[in-house]
Symmetry: D2
Subunit: 268 residues, 4 copies
């Protein structure tokens, strides 16, 4: 299956503003790219890429005063298969987890494991270890939170979603990640394109999406607490401890997002 | 100057409990060690070290049911000089910061930069860039928070300290780190021995301490918002985004700390 | 396209022998796995995975005296498309290369850039920058070395292949990598399954293969100097500076490989 | 003890030449710096620092046509104590080595472990494990190689020194590292200032020096096969697998070193 994806974003800055962008397809999908994937700007500005500790490609720019547009469009091939459901994958004991996975058991900005541990153990300790426990968590989160774009709040944490019972895809992810970590199941946050393929077909307007991954049976599996069914055609951009690490843009100064358009369509 | 340091810690677990310890002197101080530094346990248990993404030595153990004691004692040489005060060090622009430093501008579990940014800019935007701004922040934090062991709270964040106006050394560090990051000054959390040397001479009982580092003029400098004077004889154990990353112990199951004793004394 | 792949390997050790294995599919292909991928041993032995600085999954084992067998078999989905040929991709100037890419310009155990630089510049300086230069290098290597299994030599370096004019796939890769690096084109070594798909259809018996990647136009592209045509169905295991970093097994003591069998077949 | 150190280096380039410099004091000594440590150039050129996978501070510059000078001078405090001799430190089994240490058992550009393994085992297998074995290796290397500045050869490997029996400090280090690795003792290459302090008092003219570190009893210890006595006042610049990783400068194009001056003196 071929996917054509990209975006067009505009920022308005009063002053010269350094920005950190996490907008390139993740290196692990690089070999699936069938065209170049270049960030294009509306004027010549300083741009530099680097790879962060989580393996994401980050881009540093210095946005001049006025309007800065950032665009890309590329083609990528994809299996077209839905996310694998690890029904048989065992939950590893803490002792058997690789060292680099342990950090995804700890708390982070939007995932207050220390605050939700008691609830998590009370609610999920009876569920069987492994996938059934993860499934119980995403079922809970999927039902507990009502999706509502109008109630998006960039400061809302997992505790916030737990109390507010409303949010957007990042809130579903943060709460589910937190509960998994509380139950000693490593979980990490993912951002990327979801587009109009598979589960997200009805979504309008198109947008970047957030989901997460759990570590079971010796590898990471993509899971989605918002849609709660296996997705098709995800294009990973970045992974991290939570949304802090993979913010599409972090502006070090005032920058107003004035236009935002994402595409991710099957090539037919 | 020679320092003799170490600790004796006891945990009580009902079940076999995996634990993650961050208790060894940081690799950057390894060449100052004049004796071996080994963690000793009261019984033979599985132990393994690894280095995390921040460069800290972490130790994984599997504590058996019952009492587990962990001890170490070692000698180390130290300059005996107080923390350098970077009065002339320039505050680098965001563009000039090295890539690996950027993560220390982002929010983290106990440092809600998104929530405190408005206050920080309002309060500190008039201060001169660089060290004077850092000094204004630590002066503020030093005065704003009242040190009170009895009000220690492991879940308290920077916002919590800001509101509660009480806390222990980690709270001073978290609030100061958050305010520095809000002002685009990279800041990272440090834990280690402070002992009875220099600023901490009056402290009783001895304990591990928390301080932080700011990035100015191309390097990191140790700063201490609790004591607010240059310290002598710090022995770094670990650095991270905040206390989450350098918790002395993270138990993956119930574990009660039943004894805790730290020494760090000048050898005379 | 589905691929079923795996291997069966046997080692004979007289004494207990620690071994380092690099035999698991690379994390970047993990999301394409449709079944679990577990290393199976003929007896219970200590096994532990970790991720090295290049992002490869490494496995540490302690092989007991006698025969140790290691097997795996798994299914994976693949685009079925040939390696992308980056005909239009620009060769970045050194200044524009990301920091993490620079190490792949330096010499390494089997890639003596210092010894081959003069030849490389003499021979390839007239070729156009970018892909045409890479193509000239792989054309040269493909013709210069005669493939000959009987002349495999695990100590042979790029200079060795250059002089001997004979070797196996790793020698093609090492010489081409070295020449690319001499010409300031970052190049890294790859190992993995090639199987009976695409270019390697005629190969007998099946084996793991070596190829390499070059950094052009902002990303890495797979290239193969042995076959010199775009491959289909490569399954990456590991990347590194050269074969040292991705040896399928490194035994710290005498260990004799007594059986070796690899499969990688299209599922029809 | 205070040390004043620095250098003055001049390069002559015909064309604009990108260079990679590893010339700043290692981050692990940063807290000992009592003054700023800035690289100064004779004209305004693009400069950028980053940290490599070994934890070294690297500097990227674009040297313009003509003469480029690079200078620094700084003060640092030091214990004044000689290198610790780990007489009692145990040699860990391979199984007990931390994951991040394993790479320092593998071969590298100038350390052909595969070629020298047989000699190493024949020669050193009777020596007691741990420090006595390391000492036997450095005694051997110290005697086997004759120090001779006039026979410096930047392409010489450990095998080359073994055969030539002549070389400079880097050759002593490479041969000793290789033999240690062959005997399953992790060893890594170090570069830095040695100055006129301690062992190097008689050296003329002053220069940067190379030594190495071995991993025994759970930590790294500095060792010097050239002088074969514990050194005083080493100032570490960088560590790596061998000289490739820590070259003071790597020029990507012709660059002639026209002046070179290093100081490292005790402040009295």
């Amino acid at each position: 299956m071929g996917i054509r994806a990209g975006f067009h974003i505009e920022y308005e800055c009063e002053n010269e503003t350094p920005m950190l962008l996490v907008l390139k397809v993740h290196p692990s999908r690089q070999s699936d790219l069938r065209t170049e994937q270049t960030l294009t700007f509306n004027r010549a500005i300083p741009v530099r890429d680097y790879v962060d500790v989580y393996g994401n490609t980050c881009t540093r720019i210095l946005a001049p005063p006025g309007t800065t547009t950032i665009s890309t469009e590329f083609e990528l091939c994809d299996s077209g298969l839905p996310d694998l459901v690890p029904e048989q994958a065992a939950q590893l004991t803490i002792q058997d987890l690789p060292d680099d996975v342990l950090v995804f058991l700890l708390g982070s900005r939007y995932c207050e494991t220390d605050r939700l541990a008691d609830f998590a153990w009370m609610r999920f300790c009876q569920t069987p270890l492994g996938w059934p426990r993860v499934k119980a968590i995403i079922d809970f989160v999927h039902t507990h939170i009502a999706f509502d774009y109008s109630r998006a709040d960039p400061c809302r944490t997992a505790c916030g979603s737990f109390i507010d019972r409303a949010g957007v895809c990042r809130d579903f992810a943060h709460l589910a990640i937190t509960l998994c970590r509380c139950m000693n199941i490593p979980a990490r946050y993912c951002s990327g394109y979801l587009g109009d393929i598979g589960v997200a077909k009805d979504r309008y307007p198109m947008d970047f999406g957030a989901w997460f991954e759990v570590y079971l049976g010796g590898r990471w599996y993509a899971v989605d607490a918002r849609y709660n069914i296996p997705g098709i055609g995800r294009i990973l951009i970045a992974r991290g401890r939570d949304a802090t690490d993979v913010a599409l843009s972090t502006a070090f100064g005032p920058a107003i997002l004035t236009h935002f358009e994402v595409i991710a369509q099957e090539i037919v």
